[in-house]
C-alpha cells in the first residue's frame, strides 16, 4: 500500500469523481468529495515526509520502467506542491457545501463536485508525473474541468468568461504539445530525467524553438502578464468555491510546470545562459506586479480586484525565478505556498459575502463590518498578509524576494517589489474603508456567515499567521526545493 502512494495520489480523486457524479444526491456527493480530498491530503503529507527522509521516490506506472513507461517522480519540489494543492482542496471542499447550495442548482451540484474532483486529480497529476506528455494530459484534465466549473457561476457572464478561458487555455495547451513534440523529435524520449540527460548533447534550433513554445504555452496557463487577460473575468464570475480553489492551486501548478521545464528538463545553463530567460521574465514580472496592482486599485468588483492582485502575485513568483539564485527561487517557492494561503482566505471571505449579500461589489460592502464582523475581519487579516505586514506569511515571501534582489545588486527591482506592496495597501484599504468606515445601507436581514463558511475561512487566516510567526518549516522546505532545482547544496 505504502509503496503505491504516488499512484493513489491521483487515483483517489479520479475514482471519486464518477461516483460523485453518479450518486445524484447533493449531500452524498459532497461527502464523497470531502473524503477524497482529505485522503489526498493525507497521501500528500505522507509523501512529503517520505521524501524529506528518504529522497526522491520513483514509481513506474504499471511496472513499465522509465524511459519506456510513464514514471511518477516525487521529490521535495513536487511533494511540497502536492501538499499545497491537496491542502487547499481539503479546506475548500467543506466550505463548498453551503456555498454551492446557494450558488449552484440542485441538479448540477453532484456534477459540480465531480468536476471539482477531476480538476484536483489533474492538478495533482501534473505535479507528480515525471513524463512530459502525461503532464500535458493532466494539464488538460484540470483545464477542461476548470472551464466547466467556471461556467457554473451564478451570473451569465460566467459562461462568456469560461469560453474565453477555454480558447486561451487551449492555445496554451497546443503550444505545449508542439514543444513536447519537438523535444521528442530530437531525443526520442518523454521522460523528464531522460530529457534532461539528452537535451544538452542535442542542442540546435529545434530545441530552442521547443523551449520557446513551451515557455509561451506555460505562460498562458500561468497568466503571466501580458497573457493574463482570461484570468480576471474567469475568477470574478466563477462560483466562490471555484475561485478560491483555482486561485490557490491552478496558477501555482502552472508555476510548478514552469519550474520543472526550465530547471529539471532544460537546465539552468541552457535556460539562463543560452536563452537568457531571466531577461525575458524579469521585465514581464515587474510590469505584472506594477500594472496588475495598479489595475486592481481601480476595480469595483472585489473578486475581480483580487484576481488582478493574483496576476501581480504571479509576477512576484516569476520574479523570484528570474533571479535564478537560491534565495530568489526560495522566495518564489515560498510565495507559491504563501499566496495560496492568502488568496484562499481572501476569496473564501468574498464567498461568504456573496452568500449573505449576493454581490461582491464595493458598494455592497459599505458598513458590512458591523453585520459580518468575522468575515470582514478575515478579509482584513488576509489583506495584511497580502500587503506583507510582519508576522504574516506575506512578509516572509517579501523578505526573501527583496533579499534575493539585493543579493543580485538589483536595487530597483527590490524597490519595485515594495512599491507593489504599497499598491496592495491601496486596494485592500479601499475595501476595508468601505466595510469599516461607511454606514450600512443594505438589507436588514444580512447577518454573519454560517459556521460552515467561517471555519474553513479562518483556518486559512490562522495559517497565514501561524506560518508567518514560525516560517522555519516552509522556509526549510522551500530552500531545500530551490537547491534541488538549481542542483546545488546537499
Amino acid at each position: 500500500m505504502i509503496n503505491h502512494l504516488p499512484i493513489l495520489q491521483v487515483i483517489v480523486p479520479l475514482m471519486a469523481a464518477p461516483v460523485a457524479a453518479l450518486v445524484r444526491k447533493r449531500g452524498v456527493a459532497w461527502f464523497i468529495t470531502v473524503l477524497a480530498t482529505w485522503a489526498s491530503l493525507a497521501i500528500a503529507v505522507l509523501l512529503l515526509l517520505d521524501v524529506r527522509d528518504g529522497g526522491t521516490i520513483r514509481y513506474a506506472l504499471g511496472g513499465w520502467a522509465a524511459p519506456w513507461g510513464i514514471e511518477y517522480r516525487v521529490d521535495t519540489v513536487s511533494a511540497y506542491v502536492l501538499v499545497i494543492v491537496a491542502g487547499i482542496g481539503a479546506i475548500v471542499t467543506p466550505y463548498a457545501l453551503l456555498s454551492v447550495r446557494r450558488e449552484i442548482g440542485v441538479k448540477q451540484a453532484p456534477l459540480f463536485y465531480s468536476a471539482l474532483l477531476l480538476c484536483l486529480c489533474g492538478l495533482l497529476g501534473i505535479t507528480i508525473t515525471g513524463d512530459v506528455f502525461n503532464l500535458f494530459v493532466f494539464l488538460e484534465i484540470s483545464s477542461i474541468s476548470a472551464y466547466a466549473l467556471i461556467a457554473m457561476g451564478p451570473d451569465r457572464r460566467a459562461l462568456h468568461a469560461a469560453y474565453k478561458y477555454l480558447i486561451m487555455g487551449s492555445i496554451g495547451a497546443t503550444f505545449i504539445v508542439i514543444g513536447i513534440g519537438m523535444m521528442y523529435m530530437m531525443t526520442g524520449t518523454l521522460n523528464m530525467a531522460d530529457l534532461a540527460r539528452l537535451l544538452p548533447s542535442v542542442g540546435g534550433r529545434t530545441v530552442t524553438v521547443a523551449f520557446a513554445f513551451l515557455a509561451v504555452g506555460i505562460s498562458l496557463k500561468l497568466a503571466l502578464f501580458p497573457l493574463h487577460q482570461w484570468l480576471p473575468d474567469a475568477y470574478a464570475y466563477a462560483p466562490s468555491t471555484v475561485t478560491a480553489f483555482l486561485a490557490s492551486t491552478a496558477t501555482k501548478v502552472a508555476f510548478y510546470v514552469l519550474l520543472r521545464v526550465v530547471f529539471s528538463v532544460f537546465g539552468v545553463v541552457f535556460a539562463f545562459e543560452t536563452m537568457s530567460l531571466h531577461w525575458a521574465l524579469l521585465p514581464l514580472a515587474i510590469v505584472a506586479v506594477l500594472f496588475a496592482s495598479l489595475t486592481a486599485v481601480y476595480q469595483g468588483n472585489v473578486k475581480r480586484l483580487l484576481a488582478y492582485s493574483s496576476v501581480a502575485q504571479i509576477g512576484y513568483m516569476i520574479l523570484g525565478v528570474s533571479l535564478a539564485t537560491v534565495t530568489g527561487l526560495t522566495a518564489g517557492l515560498l510565495h507559491l505556498f504563501n499566496h495560496a494561503v492568502i488568496k484562499g482566505a481572501l476569496f473564501l471571505a468574498m464567498g461568504a459575502v456573496m452568500y449573505r449579500v449576493g454581490s461582491v461589489r464595493i458598494e455592497a460592502m459599505q458598513g458590512l463590518a458591523k453585520r459580518m464582523p468575522w468575515t470582514m475581519a478575515a478579509f482584513v487579516a488576509g489583506g495584511f498578509s497580502l500587503i506583507g505586514v510582519p508576522l504574516t506569511v506575506g512578509f516572509v515571501s517579501k523578505w526573501y524576494l527583496v533579499l534575493g534582489a539585493i543579493e543580485n545588486d538589483m536595487w530597483l527591482v527590490a524597490f519595485f517589489v515594495l512599491v507593489g506592496s504599497l499598491l496592495a495597501v491601496a486596494y485592500i484599504w479601499k475595501v476595508a474603508e468601505a466595510a469599516y468606515f461607511k454606514d450600512y445601507i443594505g438589507d436588514l436581514d444580512v447577518r454573519e456567515a454560517p459556521l460552515g463558511l467561517l471555519v474553513p475561512m479562518w483556518a486559512l487566516v490562522v495559517a497565514n499567521f501561524y506560518f508567518g510567526v514560525d516560517a522555519n518549516l516552509t522556509v526549510g522546505v522551500a530552500r531545500q526545493a530551490a537547491e534541488l532545482l538549481l542542483g546545488v547544496g546537499p
Binding site: A151, R156, L159, Y163, G181, R304
Partner: protein, 121 residues
C-alpha cells in the same frame, strides 16, 4: 529541394497559421472553435508525420521479418490521446456556446461583450 523535402512541416505551419488567424480574427464563437480545431489539427499532422520513416512499413512485427524498417508508432499513439483531448475541448466549448446562446440570445462575441459591459456586476 531541401525546403520542399520538408513539405510536411510547411503544411503543418500553414494549417497552424490558418487556424490561429481564424481564432483571433473571428468574433463568432462557433467560428472561433472551428479555428481552434484547425489549429489543433495542424499539431496532429505534425506528430503523425514526425513518426514517418522513409521506406518504413506499418509497425507490425511479422515472424521472420525482424529486419524490416517500420514507422515510429509512439507519436501516433500520443496524438491519439491529444485528439481525444481536442475532441473533449471542442465538446465543452460547443456546450458553452449553446448555453451562451440561451443566456444571451446571440453567439457574436462583440454583442456579448457589449451586453457584459452594460451592467456592473
Amino acid at each position: 529541394m531541401r525546403i520542399l523535402g520538408l513539405y510536411n512541416y510547411w503544411i503543418f505551419i500553414f494549417l497552424m497559421m490558418v487556424g490561429f488567424y481564424i481564432l483571433i480574427s473571428r468574433r463568432n464563437l462557433v467560428k472561433k472553435i472551428l479555428g481552434l480545431n484547425i489549429f489543433q489539427t495542424s499539431v496532429f499532422i505534425f506528430y503523425i508525420s514526425m513518426g514517418k520513416i522513409t521506406g518504413g512499413t506499418p509497425p507490425i512485427l511479422v515472424e521472420g521479418s525482424e529486419e524490416v524498417i517500420y514507422s515510429n508508432p509512439l507519436p501516433h499513439v500520443l496524438i491519439l490521446t491529444a485528439i481525444v483531448v481536442g475532441v473533449s475541448t471542442t465538446a465543452v466549448a460547443l456546450a458553452l456556446v449553446v448555453r451562451i446562446k440561451e443566456a444571451y440570445g446571440t453567439i457574436e462575441g462583440d454583442e456579448i461583450s457589449a451586453m457584459d459591459n452594460q451592467i456592473p456586476f
